[in-house]
């Protein structure tokens, strides 16, 4: 009997070995970004935590404006401001325990600061005196990462290693919406899911990758939906709602710590400033779009909630703003001093032990510096004599 003759009796059946590997339904993100502030859920939020978040937001906003001002004064080579995105930055830092690790990208200075790094050290890369300048192991903060998405596989590897060693350490890695297009994003998510690594991926979707809007970046229903394809849950959150961010990231961290594997969190937020001081945002976006987001400002949202519930007295407000001012004044003062740099440091940390070539080159530079110093001294004393 031929297949054609069999036709009437033929019923398509799936290949015998096939079954879905994971039920996709629980992995799917909510249809709407999750919110707490201004909703019933806010009633359950701890007032103490809300006040703490308020103080951090006020301080974070002040840090952003101060750092931007320092760029204009030429004290920073560049500052990618996170104004408007403070809720994401602060929540990311606060949900971690001391033993956990943060993997920030170049825009995440504020997360690094909130995790406790000294405000000046947090700016080393952007100031241009050294690339990182702090010990990542001491603070459990990886270097601010400039090549996009390349820190994500590092976070997975670190979390995996911690787990192999039996430590209940979680890694939280931050990336922008544009960074999700890079191959490293895909590879990191896939490894994390297959290894069930204790990692939380936080995508700050701020609408643009420099000039390119999200609809030119992805055709996915949302970035959180990307999680499903890897077999991890995707969560969609209002990134300007600091209480919602804290709750969702906190859950993801807890899940990872308990062996539940990775989560992809997409925070819907907006970049209020240009990409950096070198960027001209008027070329690719309208002022009305920026204005619309102004009413959904993260500080404003929390402030409204606190006022509504009678949690924001003048004293709390004043203390928050005074703390922020003190931090800004200290930052200003310390950043206005030229950093003390030793050019000989160029050769110090290339290898554990200098190669003979580097020793030669170090000697060359030392001779040059000595000659320059002598010349300067001679010029100075010549000036003295003519006076």
């Amino acid at each position: 009997m031929t297949v054609m003759e069999q036709r009437g009796a033929y019923r398509p059946t799936p290949p015998p070995a096939w079954q879905p590997r994971t039920d996709p339904a629980p992995l799917l993100p909510d249809a709407e970004p999750y919110r707490v502030l201004g909703t019933e859920a806010a009633g359950k939020a701890d007032p103490g935590l809300l006040r703490r978040l308020y103080a951090e937001l006020v301080r974070g906003r002040r840090y952003n404006t101060q750092a931007t001002a320092l760029t204009k004064q030429g004290r920073l080579a560049v500052y990618p401001s996170s104004t408007g995105q403070e809720a994401c930055e602060i929540a990311a830092a606060l949900v971690l325990e001391e033993r956990d690790w943060l993997f920030p990208s170049y825009r995440d200075t504020l997360a690094v600061l909130t995790r406790g790094l000294d405000p000046v050290s947090a700016l080393t890369l952007l100031r241009g005196d050294w690339h990182t300048g702090y010990d990542p192991r001491e603070h459990r903060i990886a270097p601010l990462c400039t090549p996009l998405a390349t820190q994500l596989p590092h976070a997975v590897g670190l979390a995996h290693a911690a787990r192999l060693k039996g430590d209940d350490v979680v890694a939280l890695a931050m990336v922008g919406d544009g960074g999700t297009s890079e191959g490293d994003f895909h590879e990191a998510l896939n490894f994390a899911a297959v290894w069930r690594a204790p990692v939380v991926f936080l995508v700050q979707n701020n609408g643009f990758a420099i000039s390119v809007p999200l609809d030119r970046q992805t055709a996915a229903p949302s970035l959180a939906h990307k999680a499903v394809g890897y077999g991890m849950p995707g969560r969609l959150v209002d990134g300007n709602d600091v209480a919602a961010m804290h709750e969702v990231l906190g859950e993801a961290v807890a899940r990872a710590r308990e062996g539940g594997g990775p989560t992809l969190v997409e925070a819907i937020t907006y970049r209020m400033e240009a990409h950096t001081n070198a960027d001209d945002a008027t070329r690719y976006r309208h002022d009305d779009e920026v204005a619309a987001w102004r009413d959904h400002d993260p500080v404003l949202l929390l402030e409204r909630e606190l006022v509504e519930r009678g949690l924001l007295d003048d004293d709390t407000r004043r203390r928050a703003s005074e703390d922020a001012e003190a931090m800004a004044a200290d930052l200003r003062e310390r950043m206005n001093k030229d950093p003390l740099l030793d050019p000989m440091d160029l050769f110090t940390h290339v290898y554990a032990e200098q190669t003979s070539q580097l020793r030669e080159q170090a000697a060359q530079l030392r001779a040059e510096l000595e000659a320059a110093a002598e010349e300067a001294e001679a010029a100075e004393s010549a000036k003295g004599e003519t006076r």
Binding site: A77, V78, L125, L126, R127, G128, D129, W130, H131, T146, P147, L148, G178, G179, S181, E182, G183, D184, A209, I210, S211, V212, R216, Q217, T218, A278, D279, D280, R283, Y284, P339, L341, P343, D345, L346, F347, V350, T355, Q357, L358, Q361, L365, E368
Partner: protein, 338 residues
């Protein structure tokens, strides 16, 4: 050499503008030329080189891509396979590294793999080099990696006119070209008369930028103006230096370089990428092989130190400047020394 009638422009142009003009003229002349990259559309590229191209030619001809360098170059391979001439922009030198797999495994060897059946006319524009105060990953000089990969042309202009002429030739080339744009010369406004007819320079010819008799400085890209300055300064010491601008590292113009060194008998290679395993070693070896009997001293190299590119506040100590070049020139008096 072919000439192309240019539309009159009102202002003297920068190198960035000359590059943009080269893209525009290539696109106008040949509808298979497509520009793609990150932020090349509305923003006009972070250095504004592609300014206005999307407006003039539409989004299909000048395309903002998703943010993925391997994807940009990989799709360019497919586009070229189907008969287009993609010109891709890598935003900064160090951000081309994710695309290395495509460049080395496919772009460089497609002609060879297909026994000549499928050449890939792709131009990869890479803003490169330091001296602009960029933070980490914004100042690499990666030419040695590209030079070490057979199948790629590697071109680096140093003047506004060459930026135009060499980019036109690169886009017209049936082979892939890595086109290195010296970032710190983007805003230089030298000897380009935008109203004059423009010349398209063939790839692979060096030029003598400054004739001289006592020694040859062999250089390219961002180090060319530095060498010219050094040559001026050396006059006071009685040195009459010739400066050869390579313009193209692959193919390498052995003739022009050897002719110069035979005339002068002494040579220094100058570039800002690291010296060890860098382009200078190859160049010095070639010069020695061809000019051994004419050399009065070994070919010397002045290069960046063998360190990861330093932070902006220290880069002045790393980049080869006039003094380091003059020191090397002084060392060329080999007999007296040894």
């Amino acid at each position: 050499m072919t000439t192309v009638a240019a539309k009159p422009a009102t202002k003297p142009a920068t190198m960035a503008q000359a590059l943009g003009r080269a893209l525009r003229d290539s696109m106008a002349e040949d509808s298979s030329v497509h520009v793609l990259g990150e932020d090349v559309g509305a923003l006009g590229g972070v250095f504004r080189v592609t300014d206005g191209l999307t407006k003039e030619f539409g989004e299909d001809r000048c395309t903002d891509t998703p943010l993925a360098e391997a994807g940009i170059l990989g799709t360019a391979v497919g586009m070229a396979m189907y008969g287009l001439r993609p010109v891709v922009e890598m935003q900064f030198d160090a951000f081309a590294y994710p695309a290395f797999e495509q460049l080395i495994s496919h772009v460089a060897r497609m002609r060879n793999r297909t026994r000549g059946a499928m050449p890939l006319p792709i131009t990869v524009r890479v803003p490169y080099g330091g001296g602009i105060g960029g933070v980490e990953h914004h100042s690499d000089s990666s030419e040695a990696y590209y030079m070490a990969t057979p199948g790629l042309h590697v071109v680096a202009p140093a003047t506004v006119a060459d930026a135009y002429g060499l980019l036109r030739a690169s886009i017209a080339s049936d082979d892939p070209v890595v086109f290195l744009e010296p970032k710190r010369l983007y805003w230089s406004k030298a000897d380009w008369n935008p109203d004059a007819p423009q010349s398209v320079e063939p790839i692979g010819r060096a030029v003598v930028r400054r004739p001289g008799r006592s020694a040859t400085l062999i250089t390219y890209g961002p180090s060319v103006p530095v060498c010219l300055e050094a040559a001026e300064a050396a006059r006071a010491e009685g040195w009459d230096l010739e400066v050869v601008d390579l313009r193209s590292l692959v193919p390498f113009d052995d003739e022009t370089v050897a002719a110069s060194v035979r005339r002068t008998g002494r040579a220094v290679v100058v570039h800002e990428s690291s010296g060890f395993g860098g382009p200078g070693g190859e160049i010095a070896a070639r010069v020695t092989e061809r000019c051994f009997h004419h050399l009065e001293a070994p070919v010397l190299r002045v290069a960046g130190f063998d360190i990861p590119y330093p932070p902006p506040m220290l880069e002045k100590h790393h980049l080869p400047g006039v003094d380091r070049i003059l020191d090397a020139v002084a060392r060329l008096q080999w007999e007296a020394q040894s």
